[in-house]
């Protein structure tokens, strides 16, 4: 029998509660600034929208040393009268537990799923602990489609700043949409609603939590697994997404390696599924959509273009091993343009992503090196995206992302034929 990832104390707490209807998991690591707000919003959401259910909040912590755990233990919603229609029938319980395994969000989720499974919860939701914009309605948005409409997987749909979520917008969303044929706009959003069946499915393959899935790869793994395994998926509009501010460039390269690596890795696993997909379909949407204004953000274009140019001058010898000569010629031409006129054609970007995916598939060189060398190109594409959309509204930006998605779908036959050739 495999060793449980839960500590003795956690197992004892789980046994005390016997079972629950709903589990909401909050992974954390040094989130003392925001976690109280998240706990309050979740507690209020459960009390307001799921008053008749037995609910448990699970905080799975990665060894915070800034007092996050104490804040979680001490946080209580003192006055529900402002938001409640009826008084909750059951108190909302909390389980605070450290997680074991590789440090990362995926390991935290593993612990949450294990607890949800032991409690035989009908529905489970996970939310990030660094959210500033979460409201009680997020809980309803993530859980209602599972509890009342029989969906297995609820992905979030946010209103974000036009420059936010660039890995999502330029790689993950268009690529997963082209591959698996489902238009899930935020496949690595961070907040999800999951049914009991899907939780059990996520727990089947324990080995997966020893890979990059244990880190940033967890979100795309969950979304892809849900879609590729034929579970009922939908998305729910949650409003604006505002994170606690961190330097986003600090771990960009490792983030890129983990996210892109997970997407490419899943391609191998679900080849039989995505190879048959020829077009994409919309998925059911829940929630009332509304316009939200987001704070303006500063972008250091100079640094991005410099990063791209340095990549062109220093990493060409690496890319020569797997990028086609015409792609390299086009890239070299781009490096000569000045910052404000810097552009990166969609067609070229899509071709690059597919050629990186093929190189990863063939293991032309170390897979880690392939993924690591993508960062300067990503910086170039992001700089061009910012340049192209300086004056655009969020709707215009969304249309631009849609055009990128269509380009990914258009070039999929090229990718598929080369991928198949390698499998023969």
């Amino acid at each position: 029998m495999p060793r449980s990832i839960l500590s003795k104390e956690t197992k004892k707490r789980v046994k005390e509660y016997k079972n629950a209807d709903i589990v909401v998991g909050i992974p954390s690591y040094n989130n003392s600034r925001t976690i109280a707000h998240v706990i309050k919003a979740v507690s209020a959401g459960l009390a307001k929208h799921f008053a008749q259910y037995r609910c448990v909040i699970v905080n799975s912590d990665g060894g915070s040393n800034d007092g996050t755990l104490d804040i979680v233990k001490d946080t209580v919603v003192e006055d529900f009268s402002a938001i409640l229609i009826e008084h909750p029938r059951y108190p909302v319980h909390k389980i605070v537990t450290p997680y074991h395994g590789i440090p990362g969000k995926g390991s935290a989720f593993h612990t949450i799923f294990e607890i949800a499974s032991r409690l035989e919860a009908k529905a489970c939701a996970v939310v990030d602990s660094d959210l500033r914009s979460i409201t009680p309605e997020w809980v309803e948005g993530l859980l209602e489609p599972v509890v009342s409409h029989g969906f297995d997987f609820v992905a979030p749909l946010y209103q974000r700043h036009k420059y936010d979520g660039t890995i999502t917008n330029s790689i993950v969303y268009p690529l997963t949409r082209a591959l698996y044929g489902k238009r899930i706009r935020q496949p690595i959003g961070g907040e999800f609603g999951i049914s009991k069946n899907l939780v059990s499915h996520f727990l089947k393959d324990k080995e997966i939590y020893t890979t990059d899935v244990a880190r940033f790869g967890i979100d795309i793994w969950m979304t892809t697994t849900a879609v590729a395994s034929g579970f009922k998926v939908c998305q729910s509009f949650l409003g604006a997404k505002i994170h606690d501010h961190k330097d986003p460039g600090a771990d960009l390269s490792s983030m890129m390696v983990q996210v892109a690596g997970s997407v490419f890795n899943l391609m191998e696993r679900y080849y039989a599924i995505w190879a048959r997909v020829t077009h994409s379909d919309a998925v059911p949407e829940f929630g009332f959509k509304f316009e939200v204004s987001t704070d303006p953000v500063k972008v250091n274009l100079e640094r991005m273009v410099e990063g791209f140019n340095q990549g062109i001058s220093d990493l060409s010898t690496v890319w020569e091993k797997f990028l086609s000569p015409d792609v390299l010629t086009q890239l070299r031409k781009l490096a000569k343009s000045n910052i404000l006129e810097f552009r990166f054609p969609k067609k070229l970007w899509v071709r690059i992503i597919y050629e990186f995916a093929l190189a990863y598939h063939k293991s032309v060189i170390s897979r880690h090196h392939i993924l690591g060398s993508l960062t300067p190109l990503y910086l170039g594409r992001t700089a061009a995206f910012v340049n192209e959309n300086l004056e655009s509204t969020s709707v215009e930006v969304e249309n631009e992302i849609e055009r990128l998605c269509l380009e990914f779908e258009k070039q999929k036959p090229y990718f598929l034929s080369h991928f198949e050739k390698e499998r023969l």
């Binding site: 986003p248 953000v297 220093d314 170390s366 300067p376």
Partner: protein, 234 residues
């Protein structure tokens, strides 16, 4: 009678000696013929095996084909591998056939050569391992430095590449027993010399330049700290 006896004497002696050595010569010829046939069969079978396991693809992946092309070697990696195995078998067959003659000098030579063979193979393995380790480490370092936007990423990774290569070449030569100790000392002196020369050049010769360079670096770092991106990538 006496004349005929004195004339036939050397022939008889020669014949007797030939009679004594002939089986051995036949043995040598037989070993050589069978050995050549065996070497050819081994080469043929190896060729088929390499095709089945896609040896050429593997060499492409690890960069061996490119390295050979750069060195102007026109044969494919599998051809080279087949040739190495073929000539190795031939070589062993020759040694085996010579030892069949049971001549003391040849025996001594072959035994000392056979004893040297493991050292030779270990040296070759050390060199091959060093080549790939140098390449892998330098590339990993280059990518990491470019992603961190370190301006001198390429020269740093090249320096690391050659340092590792030199270290492994030294180890290989040491293994072959050529100028034992001298190679290691030379390497240490070289490495120390390079570091010292760099320190002197940077610290004394180019004091002002170093100062300017560091100030410029600090200012650039300060500048980029002031203007971080505020959007999130995920």
């Amino acid at each position: 009678m006496t004349l005929s006896l004195s004339l036939s004497g050397p022939f008889i002696l020669f014949w007797e000696r030939l009679e004594g050595i002939a089986p051995k010569i036949l043995e040598v010829i037989l070993i050589l013929v069978l050995g050549f046939i065996f070497a050819w069969v081994a080469k043929f079978l190896l060729g088929r095996l390499l095709k089945i396991i896609r040896f050429e693809d593997l060499c492409d992946r690890i960069g061996l084909s490119t390295a050979l092309a750069r060195a102007n070697v026109r044969r494919s990696p599998s051809d080279i591998f087949k040739l190495i195995v073929y000539w190795l078998v031939i070589f062993l067959v020759i040694i085996l056939s010579l030892s069949a003659l049971n001549v003391q000098v040849v025996n001594e030579l072959t035994s000392s050569f056979v004893l040297y063979l493991p050292r030779f193979f270990i040296a070759v393995l050390v060199l091959i391992f060093g080549y790939f380790l140098a390449k892998f480490t330098a590339r990993a370092l280059l990518i990491a430095l470019v992603n961190a936007q370190v301006k001198s990423a390429k020269p740093i990774s090249l320096a690391v590449h050659f340092m590792i290569l030199i270290l492994f070449v030294t180890m290989g030569i040491e293994q072959l027993g050529i100028a034992k100790g001298v190679m290691m000392i030379t390497y240490a002196i070289l490495l120390g010399g390079v570091v010292l020369a760099l320190a002197l050049a940077f610290g004394l010769g180019g004091r002002d330049m170093a100062k300017d360079f560091l100030e410029k670096k600090a200012k650039t770092a300060e500048k980029s700290k002031k203007k971080p991106d505020e959007f999130t990538h995920i």
